[in-house]
């Protein structure tokens, strides 16, 4: 067990380091921070100043949409690139348990997103300078946002394990994540309301990242929401391991 954790740590370090060996990491972080700022402060979109509230609701409100396009860019390389480069055979013939490789790579991508998220700290400083926000809520929202990023990444990991083409992995992940987002998006729920039975609507919105994230971003940490994301991540990672194993020959 100890040995497996050490190997997972090695995979984690290599993967996280790998992000910073190419410009991808820096481009990602710059774009993320830029868009966060633009969306939050622009008059027509976030209207941060116009609201006159010392909180970060508008800032977090845009995270699901940002993640929709940025997280797949992080997750697409996880397994597709290994397969393309032929390094999958190398990795799978090193004495690493499959789960440790899957978890190590996922954790690296997740921590990378966490780093990008932490770098938005000037937002927190800004609201604290301008007013007197509830920092507990902000912290909860950060955790919720990171958890949601984990959900997106786990889906991305699974999609990436299905192909050797990173573009396909990217597009596939965007589509899958869009499904999870739209499941609880206001306009979509309204359309469903007109014909679908309430139980079906509840089931669909139950899978929604929106509803889950919305309550966390308000500072309400519900065990069910945490469990939802934890289960989603575990199921997707299990699926990743199964697919990596099944598609080795191809």
């Amino acid at each position: 067990m100890n040995g497996a954790l050490r190997k997972m740590w090695a995979v984690f370090k290599r993967e996280l380091g790998g992000y910073f060996l190419t410009p991808v990491a820096y481009v990602f972080i710059v774009i993320f921070l830029l868009l966060c700022g633009v969306f939050t402060f622009s008059e027509s979109m976030g209207g941060f100043f116009e609201r006159g509230q010392a909180d970060l609701r508008t800032f977090f409100g845009f995270h699901p949409w940002l993640y929709l396009f940025l997280v797949p860019a992080v997750s697409m390389r996880l397994w597709a690139e290994e397969r393309k480069q032929g390094t999958l055979e190398l990795l799978m013939t090193l004495p690493i348990p499959l789960w440790a490789a899957v978890a190590g790579k996922f954790m690296a991508a997740w921590v990378f997103c966490g780093i990008a998220l932490v770098l938005t700290f000037p937002m927190v400083i800004t609201v604290n300078y301008l007013g007197d926000p509830d920092n507990g809520i902000i912290l909860a929202a950060y955790l919720g946002s990171w958890l949601m990023a984990g959900g997106f990444l786990a889906i991305g990991s699974l999609v990436s394990a299905l192909t050797r083409n990173q573009v396909i992995a990217f597009v596939g992940t965007v589509v899958a994540c869009l499904g999870f987002l739209l499941a609880g998006f206001g306009p979509v729920t309204e359309v469903l309301n007109s014909w679908a039975p309430q139980t079906l609507i509840d089931a669909i919105t139950g899978f929604s990242f929106f509803t889950r994230f919305d309550s966390i971003s308000k500072g309400v940490i519900d065990l069910r929401d945490l469990l939802f994301f934890a289960t989603l991540i575990l199921v997707c990672l299990f699926g990743t391991a199964v697919m990596v194993d099944a598609k080795k020959a191809g």
Partner: protein, 322 residues
């Protein structure tokens, strides 16, 4: 140290490996020969635990590959086909990663990496990203990765592919240096390599082992084995007469004449049943006073054996298989 028994791998309707069995002991270097697509790489992938066999068993150092894959992978050093490595990393970073995964102690890591780097002559490029390296260096990074933990079993899929003649020579010398303490399996399609480094060779064709023996045993199967090659100046002898004289000898099966082999008349005298006929032919030449310029006894050529065994539909192929 390696025991392979009735290994089978099917991909859908295609049977890539069909009942391959062999064993390799410490100190042996087993050469794996066969045409492209014969099942060499697939067999190696099953041996190293990358692919699961459809049937059969592979045991490495007492551990079954299916039951205890991690234990097996710890014992094996493996150079996959094409020597894959992470292109964005430098050899130093890459080998450091491998050392961590392989459980090389932290305080020994640096010295071990440096040691292996000098064994395969990587010293000059350790801080350059792997994608910028030449094919020969990339191959050596792969080799370094495979031998980093000083494995008991070394499996290499075409270790010298893409290397220049000097590099090939170096890699072969390295394999020979390591061979006394390890069990080594390597695949190749360079036949001279088998004769240079392997203590045993297996020829595999369409998923089956069609020949298994030492390189000289395999050569002995050649039609050329014990054949005598003679050369004369053009016009110095009556070719028809010489040929008739040779064919009268008891041990001679047939005589092949090439009237102009780079300015010489050359003859190949094939023996019956691959028996030695050199003294018989030599005595005849002396008795008749033929002006022989060159006389050479053939040991047989591996490439010729390889061709006759693996060429589709050849009669010899049937004979060897039965």
């Amino acid at each position: 140290m390696i025991e392979i028994n009735g290994l089978v791998k099917r991909f859908g309707a295609l049977t890539a490996v069909n009942g391959v069995s062999f064993s390799v002991k410490r100190g042996e270097v087993l050469g794996f020969l066969g045409p492209n697509g014969a099942g060499k790489s697939t067999t190696m992938k099953m041996l190293t635990g990358y692919l699961l066999p459809t049937a059969g068993r592979a045991v490495v150092c007492g551990h079954d590959v299916e039951q205890e894959p991690i234990a097996v992978k710890e014992k094996i050093g493996y150079l996959p086909e094409g020597a894959p490595a992470y292109p964005d990393m430098t050899p130093w970073e890459f080998l450091n990663f491998i050392a961590q995964v392989r459980g090389v102690e932290r305080k020994r890591r640096r010295s071990r990496i440096e040691e292996v780097a000098s064994m395969v002559h990587l010293e000059g490029v350790m801080r350059q990203t792997i994608e910028t390296l030449s094919k020969g260096y990339k191959r050596r990074v792969g080799l370094a990765q495979a031998i980093l933990h000083d494995p008991e079993v070394l499996v290499m899929d075409e270790p010298t592919d893409g290397l220049d003649p000097n590099q090939k020579f170096e890699v072969r010398a390295l394999i020979q240096r390591m061979s006394p303490t390890k069990a080594i399996v390597l695949s190749t399609h360079i036949l001279e390599e088998v004769e240079a480094v392997c203590t045993r060779a297996i020829i595999i064709d369409r998923g089956r082992v069609v020949a298994d023996g030492t390189p000289s045993e395999l050569c002995a199967r050649s039609r050329l084995h014990h054949a005598v090659r003679m050369k004369f100046k053009i016009g110095s002898v009556d070719v028809g007469l010489v040929r008739a004289d040779l064919q009268r000898l008891g041990g001679v099966d047939s005589v092949e004449v090439n009237p102009n082999d780079r300015g010489r008349v050359s003859m190949i005298v094939y023996p019956k049943d691959r028996a030695s006929i050199a003294s018989e032919v030599g005595a005849q030449a002396r008795a008749r006073g033929w002006p022989v310029e060159e006389l050479q006894v053939e040991l047989g050529r591996l490439d010729e054996v390889f061709r006759t065994i693996t060429a589709p539909g050849s009669l010899d192929a049937q004979e060897v298989r039965s």
